[in-house]
């Protein structure tokens, strides 16, 4: 590695205070632990993202491909000021979210990948990354867009986001913003979680990020389409 060249290519890093893990009781009674991960676990996370690359349903393929690249870029020091939160149930990875800080005032929400569906896991993870940006990093607003109409409708309807001019860095789609005011107005209704996470739950989550098999991931995303009955 040419250190001098690498110094140009590797972005500097802004200090980010850690995101304290939390636990959410799901409709199933299951305990969803949401916690921040460091870049060393990216190779493990990519195993869960890879099966989504060929799933057209709900734009999982585009979200998966972009998330794969963002995580890999973070792992290999080619993305600036990215953070990543994961959701685990009994150690099993059920969702990933990531965001990039654009400035001390603005974060750019990147992606939300829910592997387990129908339990608001995507919504809980999305809320967690907004919580991190607004409450812990002190941003004034987070820029948001979506590839999937389902995600777009959910964020728009649930948070009543404000439209912004310009472009989100994920492309030319109209950007919207979650402001501090909007966040706090919706917090009681949408942002769940209890802290601290009980030690036994935290120990299981940190011991190993368990990745479901490719078949299981596709079953969770595609539902009955992959079952035998037609």
């Amino acid at each position: 590695m040419d250190i001098e060249v690498e110094a140009y290519l590797r972005p500097p890093e802004m200090y980010m205070p850690p995101y304290p893990a939390k636990v959410i009781t799901l409709a199933t009674g299951g305990k969803l632990v949401i916690r921040q991960v460091t870049r060393d676990v990216v190779p493990t996370l990519l195993q869960a993202v890879k099966p989504t690359l060929e799933v057209e349903r709900d734009y999982y393929d585009i979200v998966g491909a972009r998330l794969y690249a963002e995580l890999l870029g973070w792992y290999r020091y080619r993305v600036r000021d990215e953070f990543c939160l994961v959701g685990q149930i009994e150690g099993l990875l059920v969702g990933i979210v990531n965001t990039r800080s654009f400035s001390p005032e603005v974060d750019i929400s990147l992606h939300t990948l829910a592997i387990e569906r129908g339990l608001r896991i995507g919504a809980h993870l999305f809320a967690a990354k907004m919580e991190y940006s607004i409450e812990y990093l002190g941003r004034k607003e987070v820029l948001i867009t979506a590839e999937s109409p389902i995600g777009f409708r959910r964020w728009m309807i649930e948070y009543g986001l404000e439209k912004r001019d310009g472009q989100h860095e994920l492309g030319g789609a109209t950007p919207f913003a979650l402001t501090r005011d909007l966040y706090f107005r919706n917090k009681d209704r949408l942002v769940a979680g209890e802290r601290p996470v009980p030690a036994d739950l935290m120990e299981v989550a940190e011991r190993e990020i368990i990745i479901a098999s490719e078949d299981d991931i596709l079953e969770k995303i595609l539902g009955a389409k992959r079952r035998l009955v037609q």
Partner: protein, 394 residues
């Protein structure tokens, strides 16, 4: 009237089916029912399609004609039957009458709806088109709103609690886990959707006091039954399940005109008519499929259909009488709550479940020794209701 046999039953899994067309879904369900009957080359005389709103959901009408063509059943007679969420039940009634009267010997009844083509609020708006245009709809009334008002009154009058409503949801979602055709296949807990301090985030208010998990999902799907005479059914060599009772009744269009809005008169009368035709009583029923579009409806219908006295449905639920293995299992399929509710398909899917139960083909959710089944398909907000009694002949 001639006895009418359900010789074939079939459906497709209910869920969001982006890749499928309405007619395509109905065709597969229809083929499943015809295959199940072992119909072979025999001609179908008539096709009745239960569908509520394909014109609004899918910009397609004349779906019965389209289905006959897709299945190459020409020159069979074909009609689409619309009766709101009871369209499926009305289609079965018409098929029943066709066979019973001698108008047709072999009738295919298919129910189908593709609702997920539009976004959730739009689907709710389309379903709300069944409300009174100037007395209800213009004021923003939707079916969840009516159900919310009904639930509040029912709670005040009969002491039904949110715990009772959640018990219905938990039971039916547990049953749905046993049904590979169910839209929602997920266990839920009282803690997760009601008692945990943050349960309101998992199950937000839809129309107070109804929360998300008190409401059925918006589904795509189709179901079908093949109706015929006893003579032909014997030749097909299938277990004989007959439609012994059909009842239908109506009530005022608007809820506000009813002297007691908690009194579901059409449910009572339709059920009485079905039992009367079958020569049976509610106590003779081994398994029931009720129209639980909202959790309160399972409780209220179980009383109005005559299974429990008024105000006692919640107690029976609490005592476990309506679980699989209980005194009267209700909605072993998961009901609308878990199997899903593609509106036009629901009444037919209820019949499919009863046929499977009465034949002993319901797998892990089989109700033991079931020989008599009852289904109730609730149109409007209880203003056009159909009830059926099905029996397995030894």
């Amino acid at each position: 009237m001639r006895p009418v046999v359900v010789a074939g039953a079939g459906m497709i899994p209910f869920e969001r089916r982006d890749e499928d067309s309405l007619v395509g879904m109905m065709a597969v369900a229809g083929l499943n029912a015809m295959d199940d009957a072992g119909l072979g080359d025999r001609a179908v005389d008539a096709v009745y399609v239960g569908n509520m709103a394909s014109g609004l959901f899918n910009h397609q009408v004349s779906v019965a004609s389209a289905l006959v063509d897709r299945l190459s059943l020409m020159p069979a007679a074909a009609d689409r039957i619309e009766n709101g969420p009871a369209s499926g039940g009305s289609a079965i009634k018409n098929g029943f009458l066709a066979v019973a009267s001698g108008y047709a010997d072999i009738v295919l009844v298919v129910g189908g709806e593709k609702m997920r083509e539009v976004i959730g609020p739009k689907a709710t708006d389309i379903v709300a088109a069944m409300t009174h245009p100037s007395a209800e709809y213009i004021y923003g009334v939707t079916l969840p709103a009516l159900a919310g008002l009904f639930t509040r009154l029912y709670m005040e009058k009969y002491g039904v609690t949110r715990e009772h409503l959640t018990m219905v949801a938990i039971k039916n979602q547990e049953n749905g886990l046993l049904n590979p055709y169910a839209h929602i296949r997920m266990k839920i807990t009282m803690e997760g959707v009601l008692t945990h301090p943050q349960a309101h985030i998992n199950s937000p208010i839809v129309a107070d006091p109804l929360h998300l998990y008190d409401c059925c999902p918006v589904s795509d799907g189709a179901a079908a039954v093949l109706l015929t005479t006893e003579e032909i059914a014997k030749e097909l060599n299938k277990p004989i399940v007959t439609i012994d009772g059909v009842g239908q009744a109506t009530d005022t269009h608007t809820l506000q005109e009813r002297s007691d809005p908690t009194d579901l008169k059409a449910v009572t009368v339709a059920s009485e008519r079905a039992f009367s035709m079958a020569g049976l009583k509610p106590k003779d029923v081994d398994v029931a499929e009720l129209h639980d579009a909202f959790t309160i409806l399972e409780i209220a219908e179980s009383e109005h259909a005559g299974f429990f006295p008024k105000g006692e449905g919640a107690k029976a639920l609490e005592a476990g009488e309506t679980r699989i293995g209980g005194k009267l299992p209700i909605n072993p399929s998961g009901g609308l709550k878990a199997r899903g509710h593609p509106v036009g398909a629901t009444g037919v899917a209820q019949a499919v479940e009863l046929v499977w139960q009465l034949r002993g083909e319901a797998g892990d959710r089989q109700v033991k020794k079931a020989t008599t089944g009852f289904s109730l398909n609730f149109g409007g907000f209880g203003n056009n209701v159909l009830a059926f009694v099905l029996r397995r002949k030894s």
